[in-house]
């Protein structure tokens, strides 16, 4: 086997995410992000050899196999094209799929792109309520909020998290998002304001929840040879991993669970794979910045732990002490994260994009000083599919 080529990120495009984008159709949003990524890379649409389309549930845009209608938005006519969907992890899985196009030797330069109009889909939870098995678990009723509320209850019981601790995550991420022009929820908040917001599914309150965002994301990846031949600026994907849990939530509860629903077992395993590939043995010391997919405040704790930034159950105190703030030792979600912006099809792609911006020193007002090694993650399905990535300058 020939040595796989190094794969670099050479172009990034993301919308300024909002609750609605009445000015743009779904394909328009995809094209908006593609144009931004191409401009960032200095390349043209004709330069792209293949396209990986990033789209999670069809029902979110109300069109079956909606990627077919996005073909022209990504300039893919006559080109190699396929779509990836791993639920909320779709965006990072799409970046991974683009990575494999290049690491395999099949392509030198690949575009991955997508968009979502979650804010305009009617009600995303109505769609997401239909991800569960129709016989056994759909009627409970399970939604993505109740699913992770149960995780929060279990985490609180196991490790001692309080609702005020959850609110501290929201306060941190909103403070970060206020610095990020592309974030959806940019108004700062307080622990008191979070605590006084209404319950959605105990212990999760309205302010503990991510918004429903509309916008697009796109990235251009290229082989090291392509990058060097053209003297392009790049940051490098040095670790890629995925791991899955069981489908049935009942398998993560009760007396003999496959995995404890308090933790993110498969996310941890995915990070282990990415770290092994990147040669990272001590993430708490070697990682400078993290963008971790956490759509509800409580889930940021077990994401931090699964990433190995703290031992299991030990992330609450350092978060409250500011270790994960911009300016802290190891900033987590300096963009504001999923808690402040969630256009599901590209949310996990934006995690990678933000880390790429951080390690290239281009993150603007939310830049983490001196960041050279970053990590990103995405969660999909019923907290089931996990993708992770290490990006280095």
């Amino acid at each position: 086997m020939n040595r796989p080529p190094r794969v670099g990120i050479i172009g990034i495009g993301q919308s300024a995410f909002k609750a609605r984008r009445d000015d743009a159709s779904y394909p328009d949003l995809v094209r908006e992000a593609v144009n931004l990524a191409l401009t960032d890379s200095g390349l043209e649409l004709d330069d792209m050899e293949a396209v990986v389309y990033s789209l999670s549930p069809d029902a979110m845009v109300g069109i079956g196999n909606a990627e077919r209608l996005g073909v022209d938005a990504v300039g893919a006519r006559g080109k190699r094209f396929l779509r990836i969907n791993t639920g909320g992890a779709t965006g990072i899985s799409s970046v991974a799929a683009a990575y494999y196009h290049i690491a395999s030797g099949a392509c030198d330069v690949v575009l991955t792109a997508g968009a979502d109009k979650v804010g305009e889909c009617g009600d995303s939870q109505t769609v997401l309520n239909k991800i569960w098995d129709p016989i056994y678990e759909r009627q409970l009723p399970l939604g993505t909020i109740t699913m992770l509320a149960m995780s929060g209850v279990r985490y609180a019981e196991k490790y001692g998290m309080t609702e005020e601790d959850m609110a501290a995550v929201v306060v941190k991420n909103r403070r970060h998002a206020a610095l990020n022009a592309n974030a959806h929820l940019r108004r700062e908040t307080s622990v008191d304001e979070v605590m006084s917001s209404r319950y959605i599914a105990w212990p999760i309150k309205l302010f503990d929840c991510c918004p429903q965002s509309s916008g697009g994301g796109a990235m251009v990846l290229a082989s090291e040879k392509y990058i060097k031949d053209r003297h392009l600026d790049a940051v490098w994907i040095t670790g890629v991993g995925h791991c899955s849990e069981s489908y049935y939530l009942g398998d993560r509860m009760g007396h003999a669970p496959v995995a404890d629903h308090a933790d993110a077992h498969a996310l941890r395993r995915s990070f282990e794979r990415s770290y092994q590939m990147a040669g990272i043995s001590d993430p708490a010391r070697q990682v400078h910045v993290a963008e971790l997919y956490a759509p509800f405040s409580n889930t940021e704790f077990h994401a931090i732990e699964a990433a190995g930034l703290t031992p299991p159950g030990k992330s609450v105190a350092p978060l409250r002490e500011g270790r994960f703030d911009i300016g802290g030792d190891q900033p987590v979600n300096p963009s504001g994260g999923t808690l402040c912006t969630n256009a599901i099809a590209v949310t996990a792609m934006i995690r990678v994009a933000e880390i790429a911006l951080q390690v290239s020193g281009r993150a603007g007002a939310h830049q983490v000083k001196g960041a050279r090694v970053g990590i990103a993650s995405g969660n999909g399905g019923d907290h089931q599919f996990f993708g992770t990535m290490v990006v280095e300058a």
């Binding site: 069109i63 006519r77 006559g78 396929l82 990836i84 395999s104 098995d133 899955s244 489908y247 399905g381």
Partner: protein, 372 residues
């Protein structure tokens, strides 16, 4: 550009049509995964990663691939999903093996038939403003393409009729189902599942007894999404896919090089266009080639010896089934459809309205091809 490492299909399982209805979808997937692994002489512990493909509208789940976690051995493993097409799962699996990060991939796609109405589920795939009210479903898209081909190619109508009479499900009906397609020309959807095991050359080198269908070439491409933007009498995405697959496999003269082909055959009109684009038959000789039995199992260039989608129209996984059947021919495991020792097999898959997505895969009995 070709791939960084050699690889082969080392295990296949196809169940289509599924005739025993006592199993859940997950049991069906589990059986297929086990069967493909058993065909390779392996167990789940040999699976490095999984790529699956399914369709949300047909499965009745908002993220249909979720059901695959436990049933195909995905717990604690790495799963990706390509809901664009069943055959795209194969493409992604091959790219993952070639990346060097994995030595094996389990690749699966399925097509359940519990949906109350296939046309209604398919109509959701049309854009809601211009096409959904036509109504546009798979059959009407096939019919639109057939009418465009009929108008553009003088030899098409007669050759399609001749080809239809040679197929196992020929109805002989003159009734029109959707003009110009005769009743019975588009078979009723069937439940189906396909599973393949892909392995890198170094994995195979450690297991000399494994029967391998080596990947020699692979091309895939797409047309535009709106039918109004396309000339349905042509298939430029197929041209792109064929060019890449043949270049990687070093095929200059497909008529003499390819021993057997498994191609998408949703309608005879499409099959004839595809055979011409693949260089297996020219329009001037379509009728004579069909009548002479050139494409029959005992002909000079057998096409769809498995019976093709006419005997099992497993809509969403027809493409992966074609790939599995071509690999089976090379591995000598095609059962009653097996030809005597073919050396080069071609698989063609198309998906989407009027063959929007086109994929061509070349397998060989030896290891050459694709590797740089």
């Amino acid at each position: 550009m070709s791939l960084n490492t050699g690889m082969a299909v080392i295990g296949c399982a196809v169940e289509a049509p599924v005739t025993e209805h006592g199993r859940s979808l997950e049991e069906l997937l589990h059986d297929a995964a086990l069967s493909a692994l058993a065909d390779a002489g392996l167990g789940f512990d040999a699976v490095d990663g999984i790529v699956v493909a399914a369709n949300d509208q047909l499965d009745g789940r908002a993220i249909s691939i979720m059901a695959a976690s436990g049933s195909v051995g995905g717990v604690d493993r790495d799963i990706l999903s390509t809901p664009s097409a069943g055959e795209h799962a194969f493409v992604m699996g091959a790219l993952r093996v070639a990346s060097g990060q994995y030595r094996t991939q389990l690749v699966m796609a399925w097509n359940p038939t519990e949906v109350s109405s296939f046309p209604e589920a398919e109509r959701l795939g049309a854009d809601p403003y211009y096409h959904r009210r036509l109504p546009l479903d798979e059959l009407s898209a096939h019919a639109l393409q057939a009418s465009a081909l009929k108008a553009a190619i003088p030899q098409m109508a007669a050759a399609a009729k001749t080809l239809d009479t040679t197929l196992p499900t020929a109805s002989g009906s003159n009734d029109i189902q959707r003009w110009p397609l005769a009743r019975g020309a588009y078979p009723t959807p069937a439940t189906g599942v396909a599973a393949l095991v892909l392995a890198s050359e170094d994995f195979i080198a450690d297991r000399p007894d494994i029967r391998s269908a080596w990947l020699h070439g692979m091309g895939w491409a797409t047309e535009a999404g709106f039918l109004g933007d396309r000339d349905l009498s042509d298939a430029p995405a197929l041209d792109a896919a064929v060019e890449r697959a043949y270049a990687e496999a070093g095929i200059a003269d497909p008529e003499t090089t390819i021993d057997v082909a498994e191609i998408s055959d949703s309608t005879a009109f499409q099959q004839l266009l595809v055979m011409e684009k693949l260089g297996l038959s020219r329009r001037e000789t379509w009728d004579a080639d069909i009548v002479s039995g050139r494409f029959a199992r005992n002909g000079a260039l057998p096409v769809n010896p498995s019976g093709g989608s006419r005997i099992a129209n497993a809509v969403f996984c027809n493409g992966l089934i074609r790939i599995a059947e071509a690999a089976r021919q090379i591995r000598g495991s095609a059962g009653s459809a097996q030809l005597p020792a073919p050396k080069v097999a071609l698989a063609h898959a198309s998906s989407g309205f009027a063959m929007q997505y086109q994929t061509v895969v070349i397998f060989g009995a030896d290891r050459k091809g694709t590797v740089k």
